[in-house]
Amino acid sequence: MTDRLAKFTSAMDRLYEFDREPVSPEKLQSGGKFAGLFAGEHVAATEFVIGAFFVLHGVTARSLLFGLLFGNLLAVISWTLVCAPIAVRTRLTLYWYLRKIAGPGVTLLYNIANAFLYCILAGAMISVSATAVGILFGIRVPALDAILPSSAGWVAIVFVLGAAFTTMAILGFEKLSRFAQVASPWIFAIFFAGAVAVLPKLGVEPNLANLWETLSTKVWNGVAVGGQEKFGFWHILFFAWFCNLAMHVGLSDMALFRYARKWTYGLYSAFGMYPGHMFAWICSGIMVAAIGRQMDPGLMAFEAAGAAGIGAVLLAGWTTANPTLYRAGLALQTITPNWPRWRITLLAGSVTTVLACFPLFFLKLLDYVAIYGLVLMPIGAIVFTEHWIFPIIRVEQYMAEKRGWTFNWAVLAVWLGTLAVCFLLPIHLYFKWLPGWFIAAASYTVLMAVQKGTGRIKERSRAGGESGPASAKGESR
């Protein structure tokens, strides 16, 4: 078992070898690059669904605007004050920094969890694209409460799209990434075009005199669709904040910000948040209101923007599922040593395609996004604590690395324990992560401080001539 684990972790290290060393000063990037990267990354297929769901959840126009304004501001602040400073100080990816803190065993588990979560996310994107293709063949989108596939036609479309996306990801990830850069501003333009084009259908006059009245009575009118929970300001604020929780508070974007000249480059995340997670969500909300509040992104875009709309939903799904499949493949490769890239992408694509058949993941996308962030959040809290709190309270940093631990059991216990506590917390799913972060940070500090105390007692007893074989116990953790 130990040999097998060692084999996995050494295979994992080889995969990430290229970014093992801290980024050197000549490789640092300008602020404009960060602005462009964020702007391109946050206009995805899921934007067609998220903004539309806010309408279905009966949020009011005022709650939506203020919720998105402040929620996205908190997300930008999280990138700027939590993620970027650690990335700039260490110049490492989360993978290598976590390895120093948690040991290679925990890092392996983190990677597997990440891979599975990525597959579900890519699956949701394939499902969204399937709604666009479904229009061409008259296949209806599953009902809002559907869990299982609703028809053979839906399964067939998902399989064809899943196979196509996977094949293209295998054949040319690099070229597709370049294509995604081209597609991104156009998808943004289609969001704008679709929203503006349906305004007359909703009754907005060309002089915009009744714009606010129409939006607050026909789009975000405060009435939830049957079976959907009513959302208010706090739901929207928290959703906008945690939508990329794994990236900012969860520290995944250390991979990006290690190239930043200054920690203030975190502010460039606003170029992704406000156009993608505010403007695009508002646009999709307007579009869904124009089709009678049906959750059908393909139909919504087609009615608003015609064939270009269908193309936008399809391409948004494709261009964002592609890097997600790549990341899932990279994370999965850690448990399949020596597999070539194509085989691991095929595996990730197959898992993703099967998951995409179940409409549950796309129809419960908001809850899934919350769970995704929640699952990875404790790791961010642990890394934050180790980086900032431990030097202040004089707890030794990077014990796993210094003592050669495969598993830092404190990390694993805090990770799983925090998730268990969050599960039991009697508050809405969207709000659980915030107390969870403090629980993770506090419990990790206590556990490691206690460990430090235990270590000192052992050292004293060793120095006092009571040394024995047990003194090496800590080293074998």
Binding site: R178, F192, A307
Partner: protein
Amino acid sequence: MKTFLAVASILSLVLCLVAPVLFFLEILPEPSFKLALLLASLGWFFLATNWARYWEKPQA
């Protein structure tokens, strides 16, 4: 060539933004707006894909 592709690409994208505004202002009828949007979109992909060949290679 690079400048031509850049200008033409951006114009296509601008047309994607202007077409719905013209429809909203009742200057363009709906079928014309949707056709204009489709043609401008095709134009953007053709031109911008060629323009992208001149872009700096993204970092791996």
